[in-house]
């Protein structure tokens, strides 16, 4: 890892940390209130707030995880910086697409 990747990993971690707390709080709220899928979708569809919240979450998590997976690959596999970077980037793109698809599914009206 170099200073650029280190900085991106720390920055995205700083973004993710409060978002995780809100996300967990939302899960507790939804389950304790017994909200159905329809109730949740009624709150999220067309909501710019939830679209921004989970949009930022997905982007930050995809960047953060990509750098982390790259580090794991360079230390625990025979791959060097370039190979590990490419494989981790592919994983990051997949993560972003899956996350973006989920966000779109719950916020598009």
């Amino acid at each position: 890892m170099n200073v650029r990747l280190y900085l991106w990993q720390r920055l995205t971690a700083a973004v993710i940390a409060p978002l995780v707390l809100v996300h967990v709080a939302v899960i507790f709220y939804a389950t304790r209130k017994g909200l159905s899928a329809a109730d949740i979708l009624a709150r999220t569809r067309g909501s710019l707030t939830w679209a921004s919240f989970y949009g930022v979450f997905v982007v930050a998590a995809a960047i953060h995880a990509t750098i982390g997976v790259r580090n794991v690959l360079t230390e625990w596999s025979p791959l060097r910086d370039r190979g590990a970077g490419l494989l981790a980037s592919a994983f990051g793109v997949l993560l972003f697409l899956l996350g973006a698809r989920a966000v779109v599914a719950v916020v598009l009206p």
Binding site: M1, N2, V3, L5, Y6, E75
Partner: protein
Amino acid sequence: MSLWRGGEEGRYETYKVPLRENQTVLDVVTFVQRHLDPTLSYRFACRVGMCGSCAMTVNGRPRWTCRTHVSRVAARGQLEIGPLENLPVIKDLTTDMRPFFEKWQQAKGAFVPSRTRREDFAPIRPDTPARIAADAAIECINCAICYAACDTVRWNSDYLGPAALNRAWTLVNDVRDGATSERLQAVAASGGCHACHSHQSCQELCPQQLNPTASIAGLKRRTMWAYLGGEI
């Protein structure tokens, strides 16, 4: 006691040595070489904990053998002594230290003077934050114990290691040095300070009680600000 014999593909061989009241691990290795097997290869020089050449793996941990008493480390009267880990084995207890010192050079571990001999001595106040940080890390004896103890070195052959980065930190804090930007560049690259996982084996096992993990954390902060400021 058992000693590693041979090169990378060697094996441990058992020897019986007298247990004395006051003896170091280096004493018993020397006993084997002088009385039981003169072909045993190992490295030492000063015998008083200054030169850093006698480090070996003793019962699984890297230690300076000249200052490690047998009574403190022997497990039920047994000692297993091998070469330092994370370095190529030459023969028996001697390792090839070249990768260790090459990384000192990669980390720009040499002082680069910013004055000429025609100028006066640089006044250094001992109570400045930079000098205090340098002094805290300066007493390294190049024994490579931290390098042998480091998990990140084991996993990542490009990692510069605790000693080289600790050295870089002392020079970054030396106001007389004239190569700070180049050094920060070197330690901020792949395999530099950001590869450290802060496991702290280096500071736990450093015989000089230095804390390379803290030095590396200092480099992480310093390089980050240098990067953000466009210096590197």
